[in-house]
């Protein structure tokens, strides 16, 4: 299928989500696309990045030469430490999560649903999966943002009325950034807040598995 616009790049998606972070927020970034967000914190805003491995207060992604081989984020990728950094062990890193100190967890996902459910750990028809920190983050963080592709490789929608895959958590997602726009689960639909340049709402609807309701003043995704 040819598409009318160009889907958003991963960097743009990460940057758009990063623009949502408030000053002083404590933020956990999931493996994959989310870990890019620490490169895109808006000027003048202090964001404290927390990783499951106990690294608190890291900053941008870096080469191994810059970061050294001891400092990695939750995706096991080298990052730089900020001056406020501290380190705890894995159990304390999750104590911080369950205690409710995270303002947001940004996670990747296979599926998101209008009721705020999401699935990101197990593929249909396979035994086992990869939960990682997602279930703890989903119930511990004040908000859950998803950063995901709008459709599968073969074009099937990932934004759904109900998740088909085994859930990671129920009713927790507050914002979904895809390569087609910025969405909010709204109970029986996704509220479309911003749309990828070059796409129409109908085109987004065709690529979605749930009702899409644009906000009255719909704008294009910009950072």
């Amino acid at each position: 299928m040819t598409e009318p616009g160009r889907r958003l790049t991963r960097d743009l998606m990460a940057a758009r989500i990063a623009a949502e972070f408030g000053d002083g927020w404590v933020v956990n970034l999931g493996v994959g696309m989310p870990t890019r967000c620490s490169d895109f914190v808006p000027e003048g805003r202090d964001v404290i990045f927390h990783a499951e491995n106990g690294v608190i207060g890291y900053g941008r992604n870096a080469s191994i030469e810059e970061a050294g081989r001891y400092v990695v984020n939750g995706g096991a990728q080298p990052v730089l430490l900020e001056p406020i950094a501290s380190i705890v062990h894995h159990a304390d890193a999750f104590a911080i999560i369950r205690r409710g100190l995270l303002d947001v967890a940004v996670l990747g996902a296979y599926e998101a649903a209008v009721n705020g459910n999401f699935a990101n750990w197990r593929i249909a028809g396979r035994k086992g999966g990869g939960i990682g920190g997602a279930m703890d983050l989903a119930v511990g963080a004040k908000q859950v943002f998803l950063l995901m592709e709008h459709t599968t490789r073969d074009g099937r929608p990932r934004l759904l009325e109900r998740c088909a895959l085994p859930l990671t958590a129920a009713g927790v997602v507050t914002l979904v950034m895809t390569d087609l726009g910025l969405f909010e689960p709204a109970g029986d639909s996704f509220r479309l807040r911003e749309i990828a340049p070059g796409f129409t709402v109908d085109e987004v609807r065709q690529l979605s598995g749930a009702p899409i309701v644009p906000v009255p003043d719909l704008s294009e995704v910009t950072v």
Binding site: R10, D11, T35, R36, D39, A51, E52, N53, G54, V55, R60, N61, A62, S63, I64, A67, G68, R69, Y70, V71, V72, N73, G75, A76, Q77, P78, V79, L81, I87, V88, H89, H90, A91, A93, F94, A95, I97, R98, W121, R122, I123, R126, K127, G128, G129, G130, I131, G132, G133, A134, M135, D136, V139, G140, P166, L167, T168, A169, A170
Partner: protein, 248 residues
């Protein structure tokens, strides 16, 4: 004070019997005891129970990981936060053996895994946690409300052995981890009956600041010096930086 230092990785993993339960620390490269894992592979023990964050596939460069133990059928049970790769195209030996019913695999939330290990290490047999409620991983487990919220009961984990990697150790087994090396290491060191450590450097007692020691030596049974035993300081490569991957 008697030194806990042994001279080789082989000596460090000596006596690990068939049927042992083993915690293996690490999160990515930092804090992964890959010299001890390779020694365990050489040592030959089988019917092992492996508890770790994940168990990657065997590597194409021939370097030994827990995935090799799994691939050769020497692991019969695992508790991991990652029991399968995220893409079906990259199926690991663990997935194949799990599908075939030859490995019993429990997939658990990483925070629950960490807390179960910490609980075991702290003499706590069970605790309630909110993670996983309403999902497959909570099925069949006891649920209970506290303060209007639902939690699930999870049990502490203790094992026969833990394989640990640290930055500095003293001969008594006091350990210091550097940066992200810490991860599961201190809690796994608490939870095993026999904690075996590979250290990047070994110093004499008194050289480590007591306030900086992350794992007291009373939790540690054996320590081996990576450089003195001829080990590798790094084996698994770090993942490339997120940004670098995109921009290259």
């Amino acid at each position: 004070m008697r030194s806990k230092v042994v001279g080789s990785f082989g000596e460090a993993v000596a006596g690990i019997e068939d049927g042992s339960s083993i915690l293996v620390a690490g999160f990515g490269e930092p804090g992964t005891p890959h010299n001890l894992v390779a020694a365990l592979y050489e040592q030959g023990a089988s019917d092992l129970m492996l508890i770790a964050n994940g168990a990657g596939g065997p590597r194409e460069d021939g370097i030994i990981t827990t995935g090799n133990l799994v691939a050769e059928g020497r692991v019969s049970r695992v508790i991991l936060a990652f029991t399968a790769s995220t893409h079906p195209s990259r199926q690991t030996p663990l997935e194949k053996l799990h599908e075939a019913g030859e490995v019993v695999a429990e997939t658990t939330p990483q925070g629950t895994l960490a807390e179960r290990i910490r609980a075991g290490g702290a003499g706590i047999p069970a605790f309630f946690t909110p993670a996983g409620v309403g999902t497959e991983v909570a099925e069949g487990k006891e649920h209970r409300e506290f303060g209007g919220r639902t939690y699930v009961l999870e049990e502490g984990i203790t094992t026969d052995y833990a394989l640990i990697r640290c930055w500095k150790a003293d001969t008594f087994g006091n350990l210091v981890f550097r940066r992200a090396q810490r991860n599961f290491n201190p809690i796994m060191a608490m939870a095993a009956d026999c904690t075996i450590v590979e250290a990047e450097e070994i110093v004499e007692p008194g050289e480590l600041d007591p306030d900086l020691i992350h794992t007291p030596g009373i939790f540690v049974q054996r320590v081996v010096s990576i450089p003195e035993a001829g080990g590798r300081l790094t084996v698994p490569p770090l993942m490339p930086a997120a940004r670098g991957r995109q921009r290259s």
